[in-house]
């Protein structure tokens, strides 16, 4: 081998290795701030970018660099993966695109036509991809898991996930989580009477390694929290990506509502592990601990929020905690080693319970009535799946919320029939269609969106940025103390993360129903957001 050829081989090898995304790189994602390698930016799910080129002083100079218009009218909910200047995202429902992060031009498209029998409750949506090695991973709305070559878009494997039958309402909308040498997902379908689970798959083959049912079967701990055979269609779905703590070797996932949503008479009991956070050993899939936010839920208060793992000083000593603003209107601080409840406070008007006891269990829960009962928060919650953010710099927890939202819950019949909504009677409320509208003529008392900055140490609200309309947008913070978000009004905006002051806004022409992310190419920082049916990328004017 000549010296030149040796050099070439070494170069190619190093380039190849550089492109390979090992799990070690995911663990140390802060070491490569220009990339965005997981759904929430790191495995602690901070949705916090270490990039600092865009600052509170210069953010007003952000300029649109490109727009990628998807060939889909479905909601664009995915957060892109950014790797070495390439963005990988999902054009709903299940097409994958690789884009040049500088120009928005397409490198390749992978087209997938899911079964027309797929029936996600709330749109043919997908929240993103995972990457490991040179392979991208996606769950599909017809119950499959797909692996693609990141360089070409070639399908490597495409497997049906056992039991995730499309006819029975199972679907995958979640961005998978990579832990060690496993791809981890769970199914949505909690409004169709599925039995939820979390399962780990071999990235090389798609073979299932283990499965944890979020509704325990007969003989398993927790099964007796379901009356009779109601566990069989108990829901507890999984549709928002979990988090991982390498020191504790624990993986955390939030679970959805018990089924049927709005009539719990046939499932008396706490209904574990619906509306819970569960901590699993990723090597075995065994449950280490759980915390149930809403026992015997009859309001559809899914706990499908992103588990935010923060290391903070708690009552004078360092503590590994989990921050969780829940759809039920409370925000919690939990000890993430044990699941111990540390605090829980309402962040919006709450009437479904009189409050939490010393262990975080809600007291005096109300129940829907035959004539209808007005309950706060709205059935869509005080918050929902919208990504929060934690800034290690400010120590604040940033949450997109709905304030003053309420609905009238009526107890009606619910009979399980495979493939049909298993929900009871749909509540009525003042908030218009979850699919959004182009006009907002609501009164102030009919609910509005707000971003809250919450201090986990004190439980205090540091500031609030109130919007006129409600919001389905996630939040990104950066190491220059900027906060980016959007809402139904069709703006993408930047706030001062320390004060909540509005620093910049740009009209994006469509509802923001995704979360922002940031990446860099060379020395240039970009901030990207999906809005309407397009993906937008901004950078400072040269």
């Amino acid at each position: 081998m000549t010296a030149a050829r040796t050099l070439l081989v070494a170069f190619l090898l190093s380039a190849s290795l550089a492109a390979q995304v090992s799990f070690d790189r995911l663990l140390r994602s802060s070491a490569e701030p220009g990339n965005w390698l997981t759904y929430s930016g790191n495995l602690q799910s901070h949705r916090h970018s270490p990039l600092t080129q865009v600052t509170p002083a210069n953010v007003k100079n952000l300029d649109l660099q490109w727009v990628f218009q998807s060939l889909s009218l479905e909601k664009f909910e995915a957060t892109p993966i950014a790797l070495d200047g390439v963005l990988y995202t999902v054009q709903p429902p299940n097409d994958v695109v690789a884009l040049d992060g500088a120009t928005g031009r397409t490198y390749w498209t992978y087209s997938y036509k899911p079964s027309t029998q797929a029936r996600p409750c709330c749109g043919l949506v997908n929240r993103g991809l995972a990457i490991l090695g040179d392979t991208l991973f996606m769950g599909t709305i017809d119950g499959r898991l797909v692996a693609l070559d990141a360089k070409s878009g070639r399908e490597i494997w495409n497997v049906a996930v056992a039991g995730a039958r499309v006819e029975a309402g199972y679907n995958f909308t979640v961005a998978p989580l990579v832990v060690k040498n496993m791809i981890v997902v769970g199914p949505a379908g909690g409004d169709f009477g599925i039995r939820g689970f979390i399962a780990a798959f071999d990235p090389a083959t798609g073979r299932e390694k283990w499965r944890f049912y979020t509704v325990p079967g007969p003989g398993e701990p927790g099964n007796t929290t379901w009356a009779k055979d109601s566990w069989m269609h108990g829901g507890a779905s999984v549709w928002v990506t979990g988090s991982y703590d390498p020191d504790l070797n624990l993986m955390y996932w939030g679970t959805g509502n018990p089924g049927p949503d709005w009539n719990g008479d046939g499932r008396m009991g706490d209904n574990l592990y619906a509306d819970s956070v569960i901590a699993l050993d990723p090597d075995t899939g065994k449950l280490k601990w759980h915390f149930q936010f809403t026992p015997h839920d009859e309001f559809d208060y899914d706990s499908t929020q992103v588990p935010v793992l923060a290391d903070i000083e708690w009552q004078g000593r360092p503590r590994k905690v989990m921050l969780w603003a829940n759809r039920n209107g409370f925000w919690y601080v939990l000890d993430r080693a044990t699941g111990e409840f540390l605090s829980g406070k309402p962040f919006t008007k709450v009437t479904w319970t009189s409050g939490l006891d010393a262990k975080g269990r809600p007291q005096h829960q109300v129940t829907p009535t035959a004539d209808g009962l007005v309950v706060y928060p709205h059935l869509a919650g005080g918050t929902n799946w919208y990504s929060p953010s934690f800034s290690p710099r400010t120590g604040l927890f940033y949450v997109p919320t709905w304030q003053d939202g309420h609905a009238t819950f009526t107890k009606g019949p619910a009979e399980y029939v495979e493939g049909r909504a298993f929900i009871g009677t749909f509540p009525t409320g003042t908030t218009l269609s979850i699919n959004g509208t182009q006009v907002n003529r609501r009164l102030p008392g009919e609910g509005h969106g707000a971003i809250l900055a919450l201090d986990p140490k004190t439980g205090d609200k540091k500031w609030e940025f109130a919007m006129n309309d409600i919001t389905d947008a996630g939040v990104l913070t950066t190491a220059s103390d900027l906060l980016f978000s959007g809402g139904r009004e069709g703006f993408f905006f930047a706030l001062d993360a320390r004060t909540g002051a509005l620093l910049w806004k740009a009209p994006v022409g469509g509802i923001v129903q995704a979360a922002p992310m940031s990446y860099a190419i060379g020395r240039r920082q970009y901030v990207a957001i999906a809005a309407g049916n397009s993906l937008y990328s901004y950078a400072l004017k040269p």
């Binding site: 009218l73 027309t116 029998q117 029936r119 409750c121 749109g123 043919l124 006819e167 409004d191 009606g412 019949p413 619910a414 009979e415 493939g419 049909r420 909504a421 298993f422 929900i423 009871g424 009677t425 749909f426 509540p427 009525t428 218009l432 269609s433 699919n435 509208t437 182009q438 006009v439 907002n440 003529r441 609501r442 009164l443 102030p444 109130a466 919007m467 006129n468 309309d469 809402g487 009004e489 069709g490 703006f491 806004k505």
Partner: protein, 248 residues
């Protein structure tokens, strides 16, 4: 779901020109259950949560006959969010029965008046047509009110118009920092601006940072007819309005 009175089935077949089927009360009740468990997820309990679609209006944009409606329920609408459903044909028929019946559910306890007298009041003494003209920009034209509202809802709107102000006909008052007062119909708003059809019927977009006052009125622009029209006259007007089923 409330029980549908036997009289309702008669109304159903009589009022729906396009109905080809006669449904039993049990069909309607079963349809209500199926609707609540499935359709209401997107369409809402009153069938009006998908914009531009009024399922309980008795007429449909993409269907004329009951069989057309049932076909859409079963097969969905390609290219839209309306998915196919695996109901039996009989079950789809029950949902159609419920949709057809809902427009008239409020009529169960309503005593019909005289439509001709109602029309005379609408155009004359009531001065309703002054605002509710077909060309009106500040009030609904009511050309199809009989297809989308139930008699008791119309009666309530006549005697207590502020009780349930139409989302599309809310009025605002804004005062700019320069001292100009702008009133008009609210068309849209965001955190930063508000869009109004003002009292001179100009389209105005106001920057909220330029306003020192902004309120959405919770009172109705429409006067109450309580004490203005007697019970018989109210029934006559409601009966007349129920004949206005428009072209959809």
């Amino acid at each position: 779901m409330k029980i549908i009175a036997a009289a309702c089935a008669v109304w159903l077949t009589a009022a729906s020109a396009s109905a080809q089927h006669v449904y039993t009360n049990a069909d309607v009740e079963n349809g209500a259950r199926l609707y609540s468990a499935s359709c209401a997820t997107c369409h809402g309990p009153r069938g009006d949560m998908v914009r531009g679609v009024a399922l309980f209006g008795g007429s449909f944009r993409r269907a004329t006959t009951d069989d057309d409606v049932a076909r859409i329920i079963l097969g969905g609408i390609a290219g839209t969010a309306m998915p196919p459903n695996n109901y039996s044909e009989a079950e789809a028929g029950m949902i159609v029965a419920y949709l057809r019946g809902s427009a008239s559910r409020g009529g169960v306890n309503f005593t019909p008046g005289d439509a001709a007298r109602g029309r005379a009041i609408f155009d004359g003494k009531g001065r309703c047509a002054t605002c509710h003209a077909a060309t009106s920009r500040t009030a609904p034209s009511l050309a199809d009110v009989g297809a989308i509202r139930r008699p008791l809802e119309i009666e309530q709107a006549l005697v207590d118009p502020a009780a349930d102000i139409n989302y599309d006909y809310r009025f605002v008052r804004a005062v700019t920092k320069g001292g100009e007062t702008v009133t008009g119909r609210l068309l849209n708003q965001s955190s930063f601006s508000v869009q109004i059809l003002d009292s001179s019927e100009h389209l105005r977009s106001l920057d909220k940072s330029d306003l020192k006052e902004f309120t959405v009125k919770t009172t109705s622009e429409m006067p109450s007819y309580r004490g203005v029209l007697d019970a018989q006259e109210l029934a006559d007007v409601v009966t007349y309005l129920m004949t206005r089923r428009g072209q959809r």
